[in-house]
Symmetry: C2
């Protein structure tokens, strides 16, 4: 998606070892006009998939998921990280996701009552690198026995391989921008 | 706001000691149509305040903040909880907020570069009980030296007193629904 790629080139910053900081428009400050356009783009890609629910994970995926849901006219379900007293201790789907950014493992939690047997799930997240978070959400959809229409990602770090592995496994993965390399701070996108 | 109050009466559940669970439409699953209407209601209330930025806190405030920002045509800045390697260690505004729900204290973090001296901030959150999270965001706005137009809350637990204390201190606090009691599971709203 050109608008996002332009924004990444203009405002994204490559720091340290493989980290792309986009906290000026995506995962700390949110450029709502941009994110709304991204939500519409995701809708255009998956609009024939009969999506009934969008599944994302707190916190950075929520904004994009909500604006996409405005187009799909469906509800958003955001998975929680770590055990929280407010969700209760029973009737949860749980999975695990290791965060390479934060170097910790999160338990990913979703209340069973908000996924119906007939749901057709679209998974949305802001980043995909190794694919840990997406795999946890896919695992939860599998546990729930529901169809996954696809996975929509704002920024895929292609050089970390998680996305291509999911594609090999047959996941309908759509990333709005795929960064194939960012050596020396020079961001190179995969061609559409 | 009648639509929200009706939803709370229909789907909210009072559990344990002063906990109102609204995870079916607000802070786990998000009813995007409802939340969009809530965002519009907040806009109608604060539309003359020249809001330039919405400040919220992860995770449950983000959805409401983003849809409200679509009306204000401004960006959303969501404070993070706890120290995160992805934000860097310098140039942060920090404050503290105790969570009575989760019984822990969070450090609330905002990058200094996303608040300008001329910003006029609207704080948005899903819940206000003792007011700890709102106070942390107000504290950060004070540190940044910017004007706070007001605080917009989806559900205020009036019986826990944090909201009325903020009003006494002169904060322009607007809550879409104020629950003044919920003894024996019987939810009573404050009259508008």
């Amino acid at each position: 998606m050109d608008l996002l790629k332009e924004k990444i080139l203009k405002e994204g910053r490559v720091v340290g070892d493989g980290i792309l900081k986009v906290d000026g428009f995506l995962n700390h400050q949110i450029d709502v006009d941009l994110v709304s356009a991204m939500g519409k783009d995701i809708y255009e890609h998956f609009k024939d998939g009969n999506v009934t629910k969008i599944l994302t994970i707190e916190a950075s995926g929520i904004g994009l998921a909500v604006v996409a849901a405005q187009y799909f006219h469906c509800k958003v379900l955001f998975a929680k990280k770590g055990r929280t007293t407010n969700l209760g201790n029973s009737e949860l789907y749980t999975s695990k996701a290791y965060s390479f950014t934060h170097q910790n493992e999160n338990t990913v939690l979703v209340s069973k009552k908000y996924i119906d047997a007939n749901d057709r799930i679209l998974i949305i997240d802001d980043f995909l690198a190794h694919g840990e978070a997406s795999r946890a959400l896919l695992d939860i959809a599998t546990q729930a026995g529901v169809d996954v229409v696809g996975v929509a990602i704002a920024i895929e770090k292609g050089f970390q391989g998680g996305g291509d592995q999911l594609r090999k496994e047959g996941v309908n993965l759509y990333s709005l921008a795929i960064v194939d390399s960012m050596d020396d701070g020079n961001i190179v996108f995969r061609e559409d």
